[in-house]
């Protein structure tokens, strides 16, 4: 019996059409993504382990506090001890690449949404789609367009993790107090000055919350992305599931959680107002009130 609305057929027809006629476009996108994520992953793999320890712990000490820095050292040692270092760096590379691409597209889109109600009306349902459509549904076309491997994994992750960056950028700019915007205009800001000298700085906490959410969503996507060959910790988890190996699955999961905590605390710290402090004064206050610093991982 013919259905009245064969939407599924339309979609697969559309995908076929794109496959036949727009392969060049997809190859271009794939090359771009490959470049970003490939280089990032290579870089992370090539970085000596001690340097990763030092950089992450150093950032933790500067932005959050000594207790968090200690946590970072212990957590990274755990990953090393589980012999998951390579997978973790793969995942970190994937997450960072996806985040970079998501922010590169998402933040300007958020600005456009904030500036134009029409753009906002068009983009909002697209975001709803991206956020709520079950990830498996777009894994299939992603494989069709880009094949298996890191690239479709990154793209699926980008789609899934971009919406909060767009939404929170839009929200942040729209919530800049009217009088601050008026002050900017009254003192003679042109459009770009208004954006960069008034709106973006005042929206910064909201923007950083968006960045943080994007990273978190990207991390939560890695397991699913590994099903199409994205590799990394997701692969470990997936292997654990396939072999019913609870221990292996848990190890992979623990790696994801550790990465999540480190990235979350670091990005959150950039959203707070203390960004105005210089690193030096930050360091000073660290020693003077080290006991008050809350850095519980």
């Amino acid at each position: 019996m013919a259905r009245e609305l064969p939407i599924g057929e339309y979609v697969s027809d559309g995908v076929d059409f794109l496959l036949d006629h727009a392969q060049g476009l997809f190859d271009g996108i794939a090359a771009g993504i490959e470049f970003v994520s490939g280089n990032l992953t290579d870089l992370l793999q090539a970085t000596p382990i001690w340097a990763v320890f030092a950089v992450l712990a150093g950032l933790g000490l500067w932005r959050v506090g000594w207790r968090f820095a200690l946590f970072v050292l212990v957590a990274l040692y755990v990953i090393l001890g589980m012999d998951l270092w390579e997978q973790t760096m793969d995942t970190l590379g994937l997450v960072l690449a996806a985040t970079l691409v998501a922010l590169g597209i998402g933040l300007p889109s958020g600005v456009a949404m904030a500036k134009s109600d029409i753009v906002a009306a068009v983009v909002r349902p697209v975001l709803d789609f991206m956020q709520t459509l079950p990830a498996f549904v777009y894994l299939i076309p992603a494989v069709l367009f880009f094949g298996l491997g890191e690239v479709p994994g990154t793209i699926a992750t980008v789609i899934f993790s971009m919406p909060p960056a767009v939404r929170l950028m839009n929200l942040g700019i729209r919530h800049v107090p009217v009088e601050n915007v008026e002050a900017g205009r009254a003192f003679g800001c042109n459009g770009a000055q208004l954006l960069f000298k008034v709106e973006l700085p005042l929206a910064m906490p909201s923007i950083m919350a968006g960045v943080n959410q994007t990273i978190m969503l990207a991390l939560s996507m890695v397991v699913i992305a590994s099903m199409i060959g994205a590799g990394g910790l997701g692969n470990t988890v997936l292997t654990g599931i396939q072999r019913l190996d609870v221990g292996l699955g848990f190890e992979g999961g623990l790696g994801v959680v550790i990465l999540a905590i480190i990235l979350d605390r670091l990005t959150q710290s950039f959203g707070s107002r203390s960004t105005a402090d210089s690193p030096l004064s930050r360091l000073k206050s660290l020693f003077s009130r080290g006991s008050e610093e809350s850095s519980k991982g």
Partner: protein
Amino acid sequence: MDSKLAVQGVYKVFGGDPREALERIKRGEDKDTIFAETGLTVGVADASFSVEEGEVFVVMGLSGSGKSTMVRMLNRLIEPSAGSITLNGRDITRMSRKELIAVRRRSISMVFQSFALMPHQTVLQNTAFGLNVSGMKREEREKRAMEALDAVGLKANADSYPDELSGGMKQRVGLARALATDPEILLMDEAFSALDPLIRTEMQDELLRLQSEQARTVVFITHDLDEAMRVGDRIAIMEGGRVVQIGTPDEIVRAPANDYVRSFFRGVDVSHVFTAGDIARRDQLTVVERSGMRLRAALSRLDQSGRQVAVVNDRARVLQGVVTVDSIAQQLESSVGGKDGDIESAFIDDPPILASTPLTDIMTRVAESPWPVPVVDDEGHYVGAISRATLLLTLDRQDPEASEEEASHGA
């Protein structure tokens, strides 16, 4: 061309095509009818006024009267729907975007009710904001910002962040930011309304002090009559988008244009608007022309008028002194054999009040004096006298029509 800033027939209609609303306004329909029938909101209707160089021009009205819309049209934060606004003879409403930005950077700056400081910048950076936007080199702009901060007494806080300052200090920064660009016109939109009363008075004094050092052209928006009276050289009162009266503070207090204007004065302290000369009355004291008047004659004059006190003037109405029944009687008693003397001998020590003294400063004096206190002008001419009753009546000044209304409602 004489005026610094001239506003001619300016309208603002919000929501959709303003033409229909403009026509209806011209036909004399009011704001509410227009909104009900067309959905258009009339913000400002046919506003005209001019602001002279160096004066503080206050635009006063209740919320919804269009005063904030009015001030935002002066630098086109809100685009006027019709009319012209000329600054130094140039029509702001016809300027291109580029020219407008230049005017905002150089000629007109603004102080906001909620301060509108940038939280991520230091006090110094905030103060230099306008100069920064116009592309001035860092060193130069920070030097000028520092001067502006010095002028409002906040030099020491240059490196603080806004959230470390109190409300009054924040608005000083707002003021410094506006002054740093050395504008020709300063727009102040309810600039002190968010401050508590004590700080507000302090800021008003600060503004008056700055004006006394360097008189700028200021357009000051407020809903507070006391504030308008204190800082304003002239006041425009807005009601429902229209300017209903323009005048100096005492012109408006003495001859309010309508009930709306009058309603502002209910419960308002008029003591710093009126001066002693305004309320001094001629019929309070017996007047004695001095020449040749002897004590006994003066006494009989007082007896006839049934009063206790008389002022003594010379022929040119210059006040010579004050005598009372008691002081004359005492003088007569103490003189040898009850001999009649000159009236000067009975003068009591009761210096007159200058006519230009504000009421605030004479209250104690009048309240403590057992008789009406004489008032003289700058040349010493007798103007009249103020009794306790007169003073109380003035301070308790109620709109007579309103009291009648209330009385008839009560009946």
